[in-house]
């Protein structure tokens, strides 16, 4: 929760039409901020403007524009901003990112504690935990499949790895049997997400699961990590395959 006093205001300027993996950039940035537990963020759409390319973009009806300026603003503590700024700059692509010292006179009130996840990508060895989340393929969160949103949220919080499995038959909290009738048309299967990381990081992620999963089962078990390797951006190729099946029960 933000406290009155010094803070940082971050403003990101984008073009409405710019996309990141097929999704509007502003929407993936907003999801990222949410997953990382940012206190609040606002997206505003401009009616006219120009950016680095010096093209004037306006909402003139004659050329229906999908390049209107978009502005995302949020206010957070200096540490939180520093922790996510690198990733934000990468996500903003050609857009402009501005930070500004600000002062909070009155903090917004929240009814519940927000999730606080330690983002450091730790090297894990030995004891770890596996978190399995059971849900239905039909479950949705903010207009997208819940399993996808959970994977994105785990990725945003640097959970070491997650795999989604589709069951061919199953039932869960709602007692409806899900059967994968046709290989090609079923979107109603039972799903299981399996994620491995340290107990602390998975427990820290749990408040996010609380917020996103309305119906389902989450199961924790202890595992021993035998090998954990991941490919750093410039590491040689033979360096890695995620040892994600170190399931020692």
């Amino acid at each position: 929760m933000l406290n009155p006093g010094k803070a940082v205001k971050v403003t990101i300027y984008l073009s409405e039409g710019s996309t990141h993996h097929g999704v509007p950039i502003y929407s993936s940035i907003l999801d990222f901020l949410f997953y990382r537990g940012i206190a609040g963020a606002t997206v505003t759409k401009g009616i006219a403007g120009f950016g680095a390319d010096h093209h004037m973009h306006s909402s003139n009806l004659i050329d229906i524009s999908d390049h209107l300026p978009i502005k995302i603003e949020f206010i957070e503590s200096r540490e939180t901003v520093d922790a996510i700024l690198g990733k934000l700059e990468e996500m903003a692509g050609t857009g402009l990112v501005e930070t500004q010292e600000t002062n909070i006179a009155k903090a917004a009130q929240t009814s519940r504690a927000r999730p606080k996840v330690q983002p450091e990508h730790l090297k894990i060895e030995g004891k770890a935990q596996m978190m399995r989340i059971y849900l239905s393929e039909e479950d949705r969160w903010n207009g997208k499949p819940l399993y996808k949103a959970l994977v994105e949220a785990m990725r945003a919080n640097d959970i070491a790895g997650v795999t989604v499995y589709r069951g061919i038959l199953g039932y869960g909290a709602h007692r409806r049997i899900h059967q994968d009738e046709s290989l090609f048309s079923s979107h109603r299967s039972s799903l299981m997400l399996s994620a491995i990381d340290t107990a602390e990081k998975l427990r820290a992620f749990l408040p996010m699961v609380d917020q996103m999963v309305e119906e389902g089962l989450v199961v924790f078990s202890d595992v021993d990590i035998i090998k954990y390797a991941y490919r750093a951006p410039d590491a040689p190729k033979e360096a890695a395959s995620p040892a994600h099946d170190a399931d020692a029960e």
């Binding site: 061919i168 309305e214 924790f220």
Partner: protein
């Protein structure tokens, strides 16, 4: 609604062509679990594997082979799993049943959501 409990996970491994009273064994087990009101059951089909008897099982896409490896994952409290295990013992003729201890959280939609 959020409910925490400590329980057990059972994983049962066998082949897709294994049968119980004329129907696929995995369907029979899921139906039996439902009768016992077991909390969570999910069936996975593997793409390759081997188990007891060391026959390699494959889900051949082109041959329509039905002998893919099957894994059931069943989760509930210790008491519920204790009721289920003897039944699994009679139903699974050839296969592997493994259990492990888990901490579970169950989320349920309720009219008065917390």
């Amino acid at each position: 609604m959020k409910e925490q409990f400590s329980g057990r996970m059972v994983r049962v491994h066998f082949g897709e062509d294994d049968r119980w009273q004329g129907k696929p064994l995995y369907e029979a087990i899921v139906a039996r679990c439902k009768e016992l009101d077991i909390a969570e059951v999910i069936v996975f089909r593997g793409i390759e594997g081997f188990g007891s008897g060391s026959r390699i099982r494959r889900s051949g896409h082109w041959t329509f082979s039905k002998d893919a490896p099957i894994q059931l994952s069943i989760i509930d409290t210790d008491e519920q799993i204790a009721r289920l295990l003897p039944i699994l013992g009679t139903m699974v003729e050839e296969g592997l049943v493994a259990t492990s201890t888990v901490d579970a959280i169950r989320y349920r939609r309720s009219s008065a959501s917390s």
